[in-house]
């Protein structure tokens, strides 16, 4: 599936971000999940083609790393575009489950049980 754009990339990755190499927000991680807002807010402007591609891929919740792999774009580029989409009200963002020094026993047990079913 990741090879869907085999025609090759016509645009250099950072051209998609207007030359920006840093996101406006620092809270997108590889396993942050993003979901397209459906229907889009009434005040939404028409997204650019690459943004439209992202929105198509996140109709269902998807992790940033998966999105980058499917789009065949660097994570850093995808994150900058996601910042724009978030500011435009087109996506919602869910941060990963925080892992702190005090371990969450229920979470660990759940993961263990899940692995046991593999």
């Amino acid at each position: 599936m990741g090879g869907g754009d085999t025609a090759g990339r016509l645009v250099r990755p950072f051209a998609l971000t207007g030359g920006r190499t840093r996101p406006s927000r620092a809270d997108f991680t590889l396993i942050t999940t993003v979901t397209a807002v459906d229907p889009p807010p009434t005040w939404a402007t028409r997204p650019q083609p690459e943004q439209q591609r992202i929105l198509r891929h996140c109709v269902e919740p998807i992790a940033v790393a998966e999105l980058a792999a499917l789009l065949d774009l660097p994570v850093s580029v995808v994150v900058i575009m996601l910042c724009d989409l978030l500011e435009a009200g087109r996506i919602t963002v869910r941060p990963p489950r925080p892992v702190s020094q005090t371990p969450d026993l229920d979470l660990l047990q759940k993961v263990r049980d899940g692995l046991g079913r593999l």
Partner: protein, 203 residues
């Protein structure tokens, strides 16, 4: 047009475990063995992120270099997804590890018995940062010439780090290594919780 009654599925919680070890030790193989999807790859251009790192000395001009990250996914339930990230094997890409390690439940360090020294640095990385890990000894062609204790001695591992013989090509074998890591994490969590109470309510 989308049906206005459509309810968007709630995004699941996400957690991650790192699969680390030296170059060519079987990390991506392991990710692929347990992942429910074919391992995905993202490539990140190496730009200013790598500057100032000693290990990059001598390759400063290689601005076009990319570092690849392979990962897989295991859906634990409707509301929880586990991601497995294979860490970049080459030492000069290690600055990426700090970001990767942030928020990880723990790690599996894969060791190739034919050249265990290639995984020393990974073991050192997790030890220094206090990130829990287990060691998986990947027996190539399924062969395990050394018992776990001998490998533990060779790697100078502390007693609390488990050493497991595995085959990165086998789903069940990789699953068992991950379960061993989770058991280790659960034991630590239970110790922490048990500090004040003798019993904990049943789940």
């Amino acid at each position: 047009m989308a049906d206005s009654d459509t309810v968007t599925r709630a995004a699941p919680d996400t957690v991650k475990i790192l699969i680390a070890g030296g170059f060519g030790v079987g990390k991506t193989t392991m990710v692929g063995s347990v992942s429910e999807i074919a391992p995905l790859r993202t490539e990140e251009p190496l730009t200013e992120a790598g500057l100032g790192i000693d290990d990059l000395a001598g390759i400063e001009d290689k601005k076009a270099t990319t570092v690849a990250l392979d990962f897989g996914r295991i859906t634990i339930g409707d509301d929880l997804v586990l991601y497995l990230f294979g860490t970049p094997g080459q030492q000069r890409f290690w600055f990426m590890w700090n970001d990767l390690a942030l928020g990880a439940l723990g790690a599996v360090v894969l060791v190739d018995v034919r050249r265990p020294e290639s995984s020393f640095a990974a073991i050192d990385f997790f030890e220094r940062r206090g990130i829990p890990f287990v060691v998986g000894v990947n027996g190539f062609y399924g062969e395990h010439p050394y018992p776990p204790d001998e490998i533990r001695d060779a790697l100078a591992l502390p007693d609390h780090v488990q050493v497991l013989l595995c085959d990165a090509r086998e789903r069940g074998s990789c699953r068992d290594v991950l379960i061993a890591l989770l058991d280790q994490l659960i034991a630590v969590a239970e110790d922490a919780e048990g500090g004040g109470t003798l019993t904990r309510p049943g789940r």
